[in-house]
Amino acid sequence: MSNFPILIVALPLCFAFFISLLSLTKLNRFCGHLALLSVGVSFVLTLCLGPRILAGEKIAYSLGNWPAPLGINLLVDGLSYLLSLIFGLLVLLSVIYSLEDHKGKYFSLVLILYAGMNGVVFTRDLFNLYVFWEILSISAYILVVSPQPASLRASLLYLFLGSLATALFLLGVGIIYALAGTFDMDALAREIPVIWRTQPLAILLVGALFLVSLGIKSGLFPMYVWVPEAHSLAPTPISVLLSGAVLKIGIYIFIRLFLTLFRTEVSLEGLILYWGLISMVFGGCLALVQEDLKRMLAYSSINQVGLILIGIGLGTKLGMEGSLYHLFNHALIKGSLFFSAGMIIESTGKRRIRELKGNGIVPFFPRFSFLMGALAIIGVPPLNGFISKWLICRAAVERGNLIVAALILIFGIVAAVYYLKVVQNLFSVAKMCQTEKRQSSSIPWIKYTCLGTLLGGSLVFGLLPSQGLYLIREAVALIFP
């Protein structure tokens, strides 16, 4: 049990290179199954940690048995456990989804991505965090490349912006090292308030560098350029991972660094609140005018990330609860939306929303799940999106910030407009074209199970919100003890 944190990170890494070895031999076709096995084992290990973490325990691990300021330490607490759970679920479903379409090196990259994501959320060392972040980013850059030639330029654009972001982050880490002489987060939490008294400007500079870098990585308003390109041109399972997991890494690092580590006297809440608002407004408005289905979903992600930031920026316990719950819910909902969009595009071969009209060959289940996902993300009551939006709205009202609450509601309606446009196109078809000859759907059943799991999840966490709030309770307790 005590070795679990490192096993969760190292097992996928080990299997990744084993798979790249295997892909050279004749056993090439088993790569996917092996990847599934390793992600499954890792996910089960994460689940095994669950009871202890949710009881309020923190599990620490030091590599090579070197104690805290010298060695690299891993720590699983409520926040990292929540994120690790999301990553495990999404990677598992993505691997299942891509079993038939991809082979060999693809799976080894997905496993490296998974190892990097878990590493980022578990590590307690600032430089180590940078290294894991780079590992996951590099594999994400490569995974964006799909058979479509345009995905090459999307990958390059993502690479330029992503490396700029990590370089800025590294510069910030360097300045912190110059000031404090350590990378260990526990030591930094003690050192930073002391340094703040003597050199506030340097700390502000570090904060600004981190904010810009995290803004690029989680696709906030002025730096979102890569999001629609990469999300819309990547293969479907990778779109799910990018939107559900990779964007969340930026938010995780923000919460970890600014809310549990540097609790300086400067309050960032106003900045975060307005940044989130602008992001939400622009994401929503731009999603309205998109013609490409997956591109619209990408802009909707920008909108939702803005909403998560608003909850954080309100600075109350309720707002944080809403944000973290929305982070979790958004991963489930966007996963199911991207999976169903992928299936729709796969079965019709058309990406434009307008062209979806008049196609009788979309199978029923993707259409239905797209409708459910759309309802969930708009915030219709029995589904999980409603609960988290409700929490954030209530937090805004309690804070007396009625304009924010009104804007959240208005952009719920805007989301309804752009999602229901697609739904209308999808369903008007069914009645008109029933006489048309239906092609037998070529989508294997295993892909439906991924979609079904995510939909079931959003229904369960919508009907039983106490279960979801139980999951995030420890994470919130970390920030608002």
């Binding site: 490192i6 080990c14 084993f18 070895l21 691990y61 590599l63 090579g64 048995n65």
Partner: protein, 146 residues
């Protein structure tokens, strides 16, 4: 169309190659007691192969050092590294915990695991650098062939 390098270049490269490989292994093996280490040695190892590639031409080098062999070498390097890490767990220590005798300071067989890990990093990096170079050169050759 392929350029033929002059005799001088080819002879010098051929004489330089073993020296570079020796230097690479020196850097790797003395990595824990003097400046150097697995990555640096590995890069020298990789660049020695690149030198040979540039002077002798792709066909001869790729026949001797096959793409697939290098890929296997690279994967084995990492796998052994992680395997040694897991061995630490099995032997009752932590991940990558040292289970070898530490030895005397300044001797080559000292510092426990570091020498072993450096060796595997060296092979991995050497193979990796050459593979990157092969991949980029393949683009070039395909473009010329068109």
């Amino acid at each position: 169309m392929r350029r033929q390098e002059t005799k001088i270049v080819r002879n010098v490269a051929r004489k330089l190659f073993p020296v570079l490989v020796l230097f690479a292994f020196y850097l790797i093996i003395y990595g824990h007691i003097s400046p150097g280490g697995g990555f640096q040695g590995g890069v020298v190892l990789g660049s020695s192969l690149i030198l040979l590639y540039l002077s002798e031409g792709p066909e001869r080098v790729e026949k001797k050092f096959k793409n697939s062999q290098l890929a296997i070498l690279e994967a084995i390097g990492v796998l052994t590294f992680v395997g040694i890490g897991f061995l630490g767990i099995i032997l009752g220590k932590h991940f990558l915990g040292n289970f070898l005798p530490i030895g005397r300071v300044g001797m080559v067989p000292s510092a426990g695991l570091v020498l072993l890990l450096n060796l595997f990093i060296g092979t991995k990096v050497g193979a990796g650098i050459s593979l990157i170079f092969y991949a980029l050169m393949k683009f070039d050759r395909r473009a010329q062939g068109e």
